[in-house]
């Protein structure tokens, strides 16, 4: 019995890591989706940018992980703003479908640029991969511990920022209804730039956390969770920041904890992505506005 309980707690902690990565990247993707009305299929590769810039700072310049992660966030945010002014804003009039194809091209360019510069070999940050930190009966790698600590600080901070500050409120307003926000006197174009900064920064941080959680990574790091990020966005309701935060945590926890042996033997851990895919299909069938979205024409 205690073995089962220990496994459950361990899975909950793993779920917390996955969940907070999905929540943080999902908030950015959801706000961008709401403002731009375009799914950014390069968003996964934004995570990879953050992870690799942090790698350069961490390994190349021998800085600690906090500095490295901050540099990764900054670089990704900068890239997101450049892409906004260079691609998304001038091409918005082309319509959703054409622009989403352009974001796919952007993703390919980012990923293969990183492949060309950094090579395809597997990388890791300068943290011990073999040490195990034992808290109670939960076992964590040092990387996972850092990821959890970051999540515990950044997720509430992001929530507070979006809930309490004037800028955060404007972001949510524009993502929810661009025209209404413009009529209410919000400078939509200016807020859009800040949304890209936030989304880029959170994506960069998510990339570093993902890389820490996995231990080792290559330039395909961000592509794999892309569809989980989109599932988070849909689950929370497109354009809903708080929805995405809650949905990311819920999805991460559900995916990890579904493998618990106490749950009728548990789902084979190889099927976790399939579970997320089924969630997405069922969601679109029965609640396309997301768990927290209001019903409206989609």
């Amino acid at each position: 019995m205690t073995a089962l309980l220990e496994q459950l707690v361990q899975l909950a902690v793993n779920g917390l890591i996955t969940g907070s990565i999905l929540a943080l990247t999902g908030v950015g993707a959801s706000l961008v989706f709401g403002i731009q009305r375009v799914a950014n299929f390069a968003h996964g590769d934004y995570l990879t940018i953050g992870a690799y810039v942090a790698l350069i700072v961490n390994i190349g310049f021998h800085q600690n992980l906090i500095v490295a992660a901050l540099c990764g966030m900054l670089a990704t945010a900068l890239f997101a703003v450049v892409a906004h002014f260079g691609l998304f804003r001038p091409l918005r009039a082309r319509g959703t479908i054409a622009v989403s194809l352009i974001t796919v091209g952007l993703g390919l360019v980012i990923r293969d640029s990183i492949f060309l510069v950094a090579g395809s070999q597997v990388r890791a940050y300068a943290v011990s991969q073999s040490d195990v930190i034992q808290i109670g009966f939960v076992r964590l790698s040092p990387g996972q511990t850092v990821a959890i600590a970051v999540a515990l600080v950044v997720a509430p901070a992001t929530t507070l920022f979006l809930a309490r500050t004037r800028l955060g409120k404007s972001m949510r307003a524009v993502a929810d209804n661009r025209d209404l926000a413009a009529v209410a006197g919000i400078d939509v174009e200016r807020v859009a730039v800040y949304v890209w900064i936030l989304a880029g920064g959170l994506a960069g941080l998510g990339g570093v956390m993902l890389a820490l959680g996995q231990g080792a990574f290559d330039p395909n790091l961000g592509v794999a969770p892309l569809f989980l990020i989109f599932t988070t966005v849909v689950l929370g309701g497109i354009g809903s920041a708080f929805g995405a935060l809650a949905a990311g945590l819920a999805l991460g926890l559900a995916m990890e904890m579904s493998t618990w042996s106490g749950l009728f033997g548990g789902v084979d851990s190889r099927y976790k992505p399939v579970l997320a895919f089924l969630v997405l299909i069922l969601l679109l069938l029965y609640r396309p506005q997301g768990l927290f979205g209001r019903a409206r024409v989609l």
């Binding site: 194809l101 989109f230 099927y271 895919f277």
Partner: protein, 326 residues
């Protein structure tokens, strides 16, 4: 390798024909009906895996296996389309991206069914090599014997494959040509431009979208089967998500709304893609072959961005049709 190498160029020709069929599916879905299918590769993978599994495990005859492969692609398109096609177009994009990843993921992890990472050779377990294309090869051998009096030494197995693939491609192009010009095709284009208007004149928008998604899935499945027969072995790595966007690049290279330009785009893409291996003179010879693969994908991405940004109608396309009121 010499530039004048007949087997190599026959191979490039076969691949271009297969890409034509693949892109034709996206032409109907994306260029005609405005459905962004970003996981086209999943239909190829499902058809190929279903076909190979039935042949290898149950000794199914080739026509049955082919039909089952196409059926699997159709069923999967229904699974993706039924939940998402009532919603805005980008939901389909998300679901197809997810579907493509999940199919590849399952192919990698359901080792006892799919052979796992080593692919179709491993379908009988690690000890025995599995083959699914003996029926097809026998057919090609028979066909090339028939061709020998006509073409002499040219009539190799690859040459027979080239003829078969392009015959199928041309028939399918012809069928689509007729369909696109029919009232059915006009409804599709009206949905692309304004689906509310199409619904307002009494068209069942959801029904049309589902039809075109299924048709595209059949074309994708057919391309997947032909590619599996041509190569003779496949693994999950052959179905990377980027494959789908080769087909998009072909559409754009040809001309987004021009049906007859698809084969031109496919040949151009085949030349660009295969031809890069001849660019091994200085200073390009400094880049090793591993890096070149990434350079190619990088170029595919850049071309997608640049062409969609400045010539969304494609090289030979009709700008007025694609950018109405924009």
């Amino acid at each position: 390798m010499a530039i004048f190498n007949a087997p190599f160029w026959t191979f490039v020709g076969v691949i271009a024909g297969i890409y034509t069929i693949l892109s034709l599916g996206l032409f109907l879905q994306y260029a005609m009906a405005g459905l962004p299918n970003f996981g086209h590769v999943a239909f190829m993978a499902l058809a190929a895996y279903t076909m190979a599994f039935l042949v290898i495990r149950f000794g199914a005859p080739m026509p049955v296996a082919i039909l089952a492969g196409l059926t699997a692609a159709v069923l999967f398109s229904l699974l993706l389309g039924l939940p998402s096609l009532r919603l805005r177009a980008d939901y389909l994009a998300i679901v197809t991206v997810a579907g493509g990843e999940v199919v590849r993921y399952l192919a990698l992890n359901l080792q006892d069914i799919t052979g796992g990472a080593i692919g179709s050779i491993g379908m009988l377990g690690p000890s025995r090599l599995a083959q699914y294309n003996t029926g097809w090869d026998a057919m090609l051998a028979g066909f090339s014997r028939v061709l020998r009096p006509l073409f002499g030494a040219l009539a190799s197995r690859d040459f027979a494959m080239l003829l078969i693939v392009w015959a199928i491609a041309l028939v399918l192009l012809g069928l689509c040509w007729v369909m696109v010009r029919s009232p059915w095709g006009r409804v599709l284009r009206s949905i692309r431009e304004d689906e509310n208007a199409a619904a307002a004149v009494g068209k069942n928008v959801f029904g049309y979208k589902l039809q075109v998604l299924v048709l595209g899935a059949i074309l994708g499945g057919a391309a997947g089967l032909l590619l599996a027969y041509e190569i003779g072995v496949f693994s999950p790595d052959d179905y990377q998500p980027t494959f789908t966007f080769y087909a998009y690049l072909i559409l754009i290279l040809g001309g987004m709304t021009r049906l007859w330009a698809i084969p031109l785009g496919a040949i151009l893409f085949g030349l660009l893609y295969a031809g890069t291996r001849f660019l091994d003179f200085y200073p390009l010879s400094l880049i090793d072959s591993g890096a070149r693969a990434f350079l190619r994908l990088w170029a595919v991405g850049l071309l997608l961005i640049v062409l969609m940004a400045i010539r969304p109608q494609g090289l030979l396309g009709n700008r007025r049709e694609l950018l109405l009121g924009r």
